[in-house]
Every structure is written in structure tokens, then in C-alpha cells.
């Protein structure tokens, strides 16, 4: 976010002739996505006479994205621009783990467990977390969700672990 041109990072895998690394890498990634989409839709039927097959539109847009990605990459070489923004691992990591934990525990363990676990894991994502208040808020929020979703809104959510229901 704070990357300003002129402040070169000490080590960079991007070659020197790339003057706008943000665009350059972005363009290459788009091209990769396009190639992947083209590969994934390669087994689909193409044009039949003048009518579209299932694979025509995906291929059309795949090639379009490939071209656009290439253009952006070229722009990244010929224009001046900011360096790659710095990535932090802590926030993304713990938030992702929290989401995955929720996804894997909601069915077998029920909402109360899943929500608590997701809350506490996500809280690890910030260095500012203080555990006593976090615990209190986690309990309150879980209780609130347990009342709101199944009762107030009538959504079919299972609250307790499956083994406790049987």
C-alpha cells in the first residue's frame, strides 16, 4: 500500500527492465488464469455450424482475457509505476484458517462450536488482540447468532454437535 516509486526493495525477483512491477505481475497472473480457463474448457464442444457450443463462449472470453493480460504486462514494462505492495501473512493466514475451520466444523459440530472456533482463530490475525475481552465478545456473539439465525430468522441451522443430538 505504501510502496512509492523510487524506493526500491533490497531484493527483487522482478528484472530491472520492468518499470511497473505491479501491472507486470498482474498481467502475467491474468494470462495464467486465462490459460487455465482455456485448458479447463478444452473438452467442451465448439461451434456447430452457426450455433454456439457449450465451449464457444468460455473460449472466446478466455482468449480475450489472455490478450488483455498480455497488454497489461506490456504496459507494465513500458510505463513507470509503483513497486509490488508488501504482503503481510498474519491477517490473511488466520482469517483464512478461521473460514476453513468454520466450513469443516459447521456440519459435524454445529454452529455454536464453529462460530466460537472461527472467532477465536480469526482474532489471532491481529497483534492487538487482548484475550479476556475477546473471549467475552466471542461468547456473546455466538449466543447472539444462536438466537438470531435459527429462532428469529427461522433458518435451518444446527446448533449443537451431531453426537450430542443423537
Amino acid at each position: 500500500m505504501n510502496a512509492t516509486p523510487g524506493h526500491a526493495p533490497v531484493k527483487s525477483i522482478i528484472p530491472k527492465w520492468v518499470r511497473n512491477p505491479q501491472e507486470f505481475v498482474g498481467g502475467i497472473a491474468l494470462m495464467a488464469i486465462a490459460v487455465f480457463a482455456l485448458w479447463a474448457s478444452s473438452d467442451l464442444q465448439g461451434m456447430r455450424g452457426f450455433s454456439f457450443g457449450a465451449g464457444t463462449a468460455p473460449r472466446m472470453f478466455g482468449f480475450l482475457l489472455l490478450g488483455l493480460g498480455a497488454l497489461i504486462t506490456v504496459v507494465g514494462v513500458v510505463t513507470e509505476g509503483p513497486h509490488l505492495a508488501k504482503y503481510h501473512w498474519r491477517g490473511p493466514f488466520f482469517v483464512t484458517v478461521a473460514i476453513l475451520t468454520f466450513a469443516f466444523t459447521i456440519r459435524p459440530m454445529g454452529m455454536i462450536f464453529a462460530a466460537m472456533a472461527a472467532f477465536l482463530i480469526a482474532a489471532c490475525g491481529s497483534p492487538e488482540t487482548r484475550w479476556t475481552e475477546t473471549l467475552i465478545v466471542a461468547v456473546c456473539l455466538t449466543a447472539f447468532c444462536a438466537l438470531l439465525f435459527p429462532y428469529a430468522l427461522g433458518l435451518p441451522l444446527q446448533l449443537l454437535p451431531t453426537f450430542m443430538i443423537r
Binding site: G26, S51, A57, P58, R130, T134, L141, T142
Partner: protein, 521 residues
């Protein structure tokens, strides 16, 4: 003219509908309850509540609250969603004025003068003028929708597949031209959205496309799932990066003296009028919506003002104009959705998602077959605006207190809430994982200066575009010139091409960038 009144009458009839409620504890006595008004009120309240939380924009708010409307009948659900939408917008302006954190792109400009006013102890008048301006804009926009709704629907019925396709191309080009940043990147995002929309089974042949035999992907990627990942999770991760706590300085002075002075009202009246006019027009244009409207209104106000140097230092007109414009645009952007079935921006795209869940396919047919639904929603917009005006002014104190909740406690709550929300759409854990993955994708996009909003728009328009393209070419027996030989379609295509050329011309590009740079000074 008579039509308009009877339609609006029908709408207000739906909104003010009373349902007899016979609770057991009253022993058979029944109480009439204005269900739809209550839903509108709850929607506006909850929308503001979530919209006030910094770091959650309008799109994320609507996506997050989508599940709470699932259990309702369609009319009620749409009325509530509309309420949530305005509430979220109003909440966004509240945070921009009080803490200089615009909850969403649309209220970035409001923060320029609004926060300066708050620093001078005039937060009250700033908030009041924002609400009054929004209400006025809402009234005008409601009438406008009622006036334009029926005639546009008639035009829409004359549209063939070729015209529809051209119109969507035009809409996407508009979105590109009006978007912030690089035109090339915006187009790339739209194409990526189009590609993502093709995941799942093909409409005509039923062939499974890019689904890798994963059963959850067979139906395609869910819209709410994607929106929640790209806007909800990605924002959280980004905010964690920025170190949530440091840049949140609160206005510590008590918000006092809520009412604007007579002088304020006199000064802002023309600004509100101009903002409303500009916003209404920009809202109807596909790809426009609230963001561009507020930027344009602010720029216009600065151009007309006798003393432009006051702007940026707590000029009340700098709050009134963008706030009116943004609300007018938010509302008129329902016009293309309700009449043509084409969502002009990402929030409307979510509305389409909500309608589809309730089994409604937006478009001219809805207007004719379910008039009570469309007109009820239009009437509820006006009621919703009135409620925002009534509830928000007294509740400002509560919203301010809410802002004091530290981010370290808020973000895990948002994560959990989003997870439960996504899961409840289909009761599918896979959806939650997909949203998580798109959260990371969204984070990467933000880091590389790609805007996720055009992606979402491409994702919504994808199936419609493909269907109409295929149909148009089938009818023309594979002749691509059909888009240029049918007069209506040719006009739309010509406008689209002209716009695109204009957008890449250096002189206009500079102008466009200037409008957006305003916010960074």
C-alpha cells in the same frame, strides 16, 4: 399521468398493508401489524448499523445481510433489502463525517468537507444536511422511477436478443469508463467476471463447464458467495494489513446542535437540487451508480461556487451535493434493473441474486405480471428514506458510540457473521470455502490495483450476455453483422464504441482522473 398515480397508489397500498396478527397469549384477539413498513424500518436500521462499521461498504453490507431476508415473502424481502441498501449508504456517510473513514467509495467525497465540519464542532448540521439532502433526492427519484418505469418497460418489450446484447455491452463500457483507475484493467476485470460466470452447467446443452466434477460447482459460483469473499473477507484482510487501530481517530467532542441554521438551509438548497438532478441522471446510466454521482456532484459544486477555496475546509455545500447525488443515483439505478432486468452496478447485481433466490427473474415481465412487487418496492423506497430521516437524527449518538468498538473485536465478529451468512444460503460448507478463496483473490486484486466491482458486474451480466448473444446469432444464422444492421442495436453499439474511444483519449482521461484525484488531496 393517471397511470403513474394508480401505480404509485398500488405501491403504497402494498407498503401500508396490515396483517392481522393473532398471538395465542391474547386469547383470540388480533392486532393489525403494518408488516412491510416494519420490514422497511428494520432493514434501514440494520443497514445503518452495519454500514456504520468502518471497513464495510455498501456491497459487503447488502451481501452480509442477504440471508436474513430469505425467510420472508418476496415483496417483504425486497422491501427490506432496499431498506438495508439506503441504510448502509447513510451509515457510510455517517462514518465519513464523524471519523473520516468512508465506509464505501460513494461517501469518499462526503468525508472531504464533512469531517472538516465535524472537527469544527459542526458534525450535527453536517449529518442533518446529509439526511435532508438524501431525503429530498429520494423523493425526486421515487417520482422519476414511477414516471419512467412504464414507458421503459414498453421499450424493453420491443428489444430482441441483439438489442439486449448491445445494451449490456454498452452498460459494461459505461462501467469501465466511469470506474476509477486504468481502463485496461477494468476491462480485464469484467472479462474475468464473465469467465467466472461460465462455471457450472451450460444453459442450452447442460454440459458441465469448468466445474471439475465438483458437485457444488455444477450450479455455478454463487453470487452472494463471491461478493462476500471479494468485498467482505478481502476488506477485512486488507484492513488488518493497514493496522486497523492506528488511523482511527474519533471526533471526541460531543455531537451537539443537530439542527442546521436557516443560513445553512438557504445555502444548501440549490446544491441539493443540483446534486439530485445530476445523481438521478448518472444513476440511470448503466455502470454509473452512487460512486460516480457523488464525485461529479462535488466537482460541479466546486465549479459553480463563487469561492471554491472554501471547499475542503468544512463547506456545507460540499456535504449536501454529493450526499443528495449519491442517494438519487442509488435509487434511480433501480430503473434499469426493474424495467430491463439489467443490473447497472454491483449492488443491483446482488439484488438480482436476491430476486432469483425468491424465484423472480427481473425484467419487463415482472413489471407486468407482478406489479404489486415492483410498485410496492418503489413506494417503499420513499418510505425508507423518510424513516432514515426520522430514525437517524435522534440515533446519531448511538452510531457514534458504535464507532468506538475497536477493530480487533469487530473483525472476528464480521468473519463469523459472514461465514454463517454464506453457509445459510445453500447450507453448503463448500460455499464458505469458495468465499474464503475469493477473499484471498480479492486481497491480491486490491494489492495490484484491480477493482473488484467490475468483476462482480461481469459475473452477473455473464449468463444474460451469453444467452442473448447465442440467441441473436442463432436467429441471424450465424451472421455477426446483426448487431450493426438492426437500427436500435447499431445505435447502442455506436455509443459504446464512441465512449470507449473517448475514454482512452488522453485529454478526457486527464479530466476523468482529475475528478477522482479530488478525494486524495
Amino acid at each position: 399521468m393517471g397511470d403513474v398515480f394508480s401505480n404509485l397508489g398500488l405501491g403504497f397500498g402494498v407498503v401500508f398493508q396490515f396483517v392481522q396478527w393473532t398471538p395465542a397469549f391474547l386469547g383470540g384477539a388480533s392486532i393489525p401489524i403494518p408488516v412491510n413498513i416494519l420490514l422497511c424500518l428494520i432493514g434501514a436500521l440494520v443497514g445503518t448499523l452495519v454500514g456504520v462499521l468502518p471497513g464495510i461498504g455498501t456491497i459487503a453490507t447488502v451481501a452480509m445481510l442477504l440471508p436474513i431476508t430469505f425467510g420472508l415473502p418476496p415483496v417483504g424481502a425486497l422491501i427490506m433489502l432496499a431498506g438495508i441498501y439506503y441504510g448502509a449508504q447513510y451509515g457510510g456517510s455517517t462514518t465519513s463525517i464523524l471519523v473520516n473513514i468512508p465506509g464505501e467509495a460513494g461517501s469518499v467525497v462526503t468525508a472531504l468537507d464533512g469531517f472538516q465540519m465535524a472537527k469544527k464542532g459542526r458534525a450535527g448540521p453536517a449529518l442533518a444536511i446529509a439526511a435532508i439532502g438524501s431525503f429530498f433526492a429520494g423523493c425526486v427519484a421515487t417520482v422519476l422511477i414511477a414516471l419512467l418505469g412504464a414507458p421503459l418497460t414498453k421499450i424493453a418489450l420491443a428489444f430482441g436478443p441483439a438489442e439486449y446484447f448491445s445494451l449490456m455491452v454498452l452498460g459494461l463500457i459505461f462501467a469501465v469508463v466511469l470506474a476509477k483507475g486504468s481502463v485496461l484493467k477494468a476491462i480485464a476485470m469484467i472479462v474475468m467476471g464473465l469467465l467466472l460466470s461460465m462455471v457450472g452447467s451450460d444453459i442450452e446443452t447442460g454440459a458441465s463447464r469448468m466445474a471439475f466434477n465438483i458437485p457444488e460447482l455444477a450450479d455455478g459460483l454463487g453470487f452472494a458467495t463471491l461478493a462476500m469473499g471479494l468485498f467482505g473477507f478481502a476488506e477485512i484482510i486488507r484492513n488488518l494489513d493497514a493496522g486497523g487501530e492506528t488511523d482511527r481517530k474519533l471526533v471526541q467532542e460531543k455531537v451537539s446542535g443537530l439542527m442546521p441554521t436557516r443560513q445553512d438551509l438557504k445555502e444548501t438548497a440549490p446544491a441539493i437540487l443540483r446534486g439530485t438532478g445530476l445523481g438521478s441522471i448518472l444513476g440511470i446510466l448503466p455502470g454509473g451508480g452512487a460512486v460516480i454521482a457523488s464525485f461529479a456532484a462535488y466537482t460541479l459544486e466546486k465549479k459553480v461556487a463563487k469561492d471554491p477555496s472554501k471547499f475542503g475546509h468544512g463547506e456545507i455545500r460540499g456535504v449536501a451535493a454529493p450526499e443528495s447525488a449519491n442517494n438519487a443515483a442509488a435509487q434511480t439505478s433501480f430503473i434499469p434493473l426493474l424495467t430491463l432486468g439489467i443490473p447497472p452496478n454491483a449492488v443491483m447485481a446482488l439484488m438480482v441474486g436476491a430476486m432469483t433466490i425468491h424465484g423472480i427473474v427481473p425484467g419487463p415481465q415482472v413489471m407486468q405480471k407482478q406489479p404489486e412487487l415492483v410498485w410496492g418496492m418503489i413506494a417503499s423506497m420513499w418510505v425508507g428514506n423518510l424513516m432514515l430521516l426520522i430514525i437517524n437524527l435522534p440515533l446519531v449518538g448511538i452510531w457514534v458510540r458504535l464507532l468506538r468498538v475497536p477493530y480487533r473485536l469487530m473483525f472476528p465478529s464480521i468473519v463469523v457473521f459472514c461465514c454463517i451468512g454464506i453457509y445459510s444460503v445453500n447450507n453448503a460448507p463448500t460455499d464458505v470455502m469458495i468465499a474464503g478463496a475469493f477473499g484471498l483473490v480479492g486481497y491480491w486484486l486490491i494489492k495490484h490495483d484491480f477493482e473488484p466491482a467490475p468483476l462482480l458486474l461481469g459475473m452477473v451480466l455473464g449468463p444474460l450476455m451469453e444467452e442473448n448473444l447465442r440467441r441473436a446469432l442463432l436467429i441471424s444464422r450465424g451472421d455477426w453483422s446483426v448487431f450493426l444492421t438492426r437500427p436500435l442495436s447499431a445505435v447502442l453499439m455506436a455509443i459504446a464504441a464512441a465512449l470507449l474511444i473517448l475514454a482512452v483519449l488522453p485529454s478526457l482521461r486527464k479530466k476523468r482522473d482529475e475528478v477522482f484525484v479530488e478525494s486524495e488531496n
